[in-house]
């Protein structure tokens, strides 16, 4: 009854990849799937740039003395690492690549609501990215990704204004993506696809889009204010001119704490899809998982000043924000419990996407729980601005969000490319990423707890920190290998991989009911939805024979 849309697949069917060829057919495309691939290529490029800076940071910290780079070069390394990874990789990663590709397909639409705006958003991203590259080539910025006033407004002699504008422009790209998703999800759902039948990936992207729409303008304004103070000496943050430096931090974190949820919510959406598919079960507590995404989006706006506990803010306000920060952990915990309950008595398949999802579960949980440590005022005073904080957010952003991104890339790669990747290699890569990640970042919890400050390039007064730092650098090289592998076999599979069937995992979801790769307008006939999400009890187990395991 429900499977009518499945289409018999002749070889070399016309699809979005082979419909047109040539550079302009890509650069002027309005097809959300092609734009997703444009984003994929561009964010991968920036991921490697950011990774290169990370490598240099880790090499410098291999020895206690500041011997590889100079102090101000080191400042630029961690600044550019942070700015590139956050604004040019992680924020666009899942929404602009997987979200772009999948949101219309999952809701049975032909495209996003505003295809041209979608293309515009990619161009804005590229303009911002080119500005950031240019800024790095002419010397880079040394303010930290947080560019706190008064350093950014009065003191740094690096080129902050260009970097700020780059982030400003990229911010509008992010706003447009969010706008497109909100309108698309409201307006373009297939007949029968009610809100309570939506895949939770869609709920997660809806919540993400709300944050992008409400938060990003604030960082844009903040950047303009910093530029105005720096360039025109308006008194906004400088007390000498009647301003207040903490106002900067309030404005900055009003966006940047919610921004961490722009990075993690889509990953949660990805993981929800993967866990349902590879435990062959309906997601436990669908509506709780759905509404916890919205709750995260809203509560996420109430906790920002936990980044400012020692900055000289009012202690009473600090109490309020500490309490609220505990509250924001609740919806995240609801999700973790519901995923775990979904696994319970599921028939679990350990395919590569599922390995990443497992990695996500464990690492995100550690990241979230250490967030609670930091939300406690007493502990935060001890570990703020140490490597403990660095480990906390890397567990969430790399252990959580990047794991989710990689899991999603593996899960939907057969749909995106029409090819299967070598499963054995993919499992190996997942394992290497997991090991490398923990080796890199777990020692940083210890270092921070012992008192190693973040953003120092020289710790020769504390040579006993070296062992843990060496472990961390060693882990980073392992992690690097783990990230290179998927690059290699994804590219390999585009030429040599076995052709994928329409639904190699036997997954639920409309995106699996059309061809792999899909035709330009996604569906040959508009689908009509008569079933609930995750109706796995009606589907067979994954077609094992189609996923050869190389051993």
């Amino acid at each position: 009854m429900s499977m009518e849309i499945a289409i018999p697949k002749p070889v070399e069917r016309e699809n979005y990849l082979n419909k047109e060829y040539g550079v302009w057919s890509w650069l002027l495309t309005t097809d959300h799937k092609r734009i997703a691939l444009l984003y994929l290529i561009s964010i991968t490029f920036f991921f490697f740039i950011g990774g290169f800076f990370a490598l240099l940071i880790r090499l410098e910290l291999l020895t206690p003395a500041g011997d590889l780079v100079q102090a101000d070069t080191y400042n630029k390394l961690f600044t550019q690492h942070g700015m590139v990874m956050i604004f040019f990789f992680l924020i666009p990663s899942i929404p602009a690549v997987l979200g772009n590709f999948l949101v219309p397909m999952m809701i049975g639409a032909k495209d996003l609501a505003f295809p041209r705006i979608n293309l515009l958003s990619w161009y804005l991203y590229i303009i911002g990215g080119v500005m950031m590259l240019h800024c790095m080539l002419i010397g880079g910025v040394d303010t930290g990704w947080t560019f706190y006033a008064p350093f950014s407004t009065n003191f740094t002699n690096s080129n902050f204004i260009e970097a700020g504008l780059a982030i400003f422009v990229a911010g509008f790209s992010s706003i447009l993506t969010g706008l497109n998703f909100v309108v698309t999800i409201h307006r373009m759902r297939a007949p029968g696809l009610t809100w309570s039948r939506l895949p939770l990936f869609i709920w997660a992207h809806y919540a993400t889009s709300i944050i992008q729409l409400l938060g990003t303008p604030v960082i844009a304004v903040t950047i303009v204010l910093v530029a105005a103070e720096r360039g025109l000496h308006l008194g906004i943050f400088d007390p000498k001119l009647g301003g207040d430096p903490l106002l900067f931090q309030h404005l900055f974190w009003f966006y940047s704490h919610p921004a961490v949820y722009i990075m993690i919510l889509p990953a949660m959406g990805v993981v929800t899809e993967i866990i349902a598919c590879f435990s062959r079960k309906r997601i436990f507590g669908y509506s709780f998982v759905a509404f916890s995404s919205i709750a995260i989006a809203v509560f996420g706006f109430l906790v920002w000043a936990h980044h400012m506990f020692v900055a000289g803010m009012s202690v009473y306000a600090a109490l309020v924000f500490s309490f609220l920060s505990y509250a924001v952990a609740l919806p995240s915990a609801i999700k973790v419990f519901n995923w775990t309950a979904t696994l319970y008595k599921g028939s679990i398949h350990y395919d590569a996407p599922m390995l990443y999802a497992f990695g996500f579960l464990g690492l995100f949980t550690i990241g979230g729980l250490t967030g609670l440590f930091l939300a406690a005022l007493g502990i935060d005073v001890h570990v703020t601005d140490t490597y403990f904080v660095v480990a906390h957010f890397h567990y969430i952003m790399v252990g959580g969000a990047v794991m989710g991104y990689l899991g999603g890339m593996h899960f939907w790669w057969p749909k995106i490319s029409g090819r299967l990747y070598p499963e054995g290699w993919a499992r190996l890569a997942a394992l290497i990423v997991f090991i490398g990640f923990n080796l890199t970042f777990f020692p940083q919890f210890l270092l921070g707890y012992l008192g190693m400050p973040r953003r120092y390039y020289d710790y020769s007064h504390m040579p006993e920190f070296q062992v843990l730092n060496v472990l961390s650098t060693a882990g980073a090289t392992v992690l690097g290998v783990g990230y290179l592998l998927p690059m290699v076999y994804f590219l390999w599979s585009m030429r040599y991989g076995k052709p994928a069937s329409d639904n190699p995992w036997n997954a639920a979801g409309l995106e699996w009911k059309t061809a792999s790769p899909p035709p330009t307008f996604n569906f040959d006939e508009e689908p009509i939805v008569t079933w609930e999400a995750y109706n796995y009890e009606e589907l067979d187990a994954p077609h094992k024979q189609e996923v050869p395991v190389a051993r």
Binding site: H250, L302, M313, S314, Y316, A317, V320, F321
Partner: protein, 97 residues
């Protein structure tokens, strides 16, 4: 969409436009006066009125029939309130300033 253009003729746009110009003039004029503690509140009041005009008329919120549009506006205001309100928990309770 088309219904808006009939109910919001060119005349109205110009009226709003000149009101905004007047507001700008007023802001400049107010900047030349020293109102002591009222300097910022006066400037902010003028700016708020102007922003409201833009939202109501140029952004068509006034004639919007869609409930969703209203929800968006209310939502945006609510989050602005959060930004201001929670920031004030800091500024209003600093014992030392």
């Amino acid at each position: 969409m088309s219904e808006h253009s009939s109910s919001s003729p060119l005349k109205m746009y110009f009226a709003v436009f000149f009101a905004l110009l007047a507001g700008t003039g007023l802001t400049v004029f107010a900047a030349t006066l020293d109102l002591g503690p009222f300097n910022a509140p006066v400037a902010l009041t003028i700016a708020t009125v102007k922003a409201t005009l833009v939202a109501l008329f140029f952004m068509h919120v006034w004639h919007a029939s869609e409930k969703l549009t209203k929800l968006v506006v209310i939502g945006a205001l609510f989050f602005l309130l959060l930004l201001l309100g929670l920031t004030m928990t800091d500024y209003a309770t600093r014992p030392w300033s």
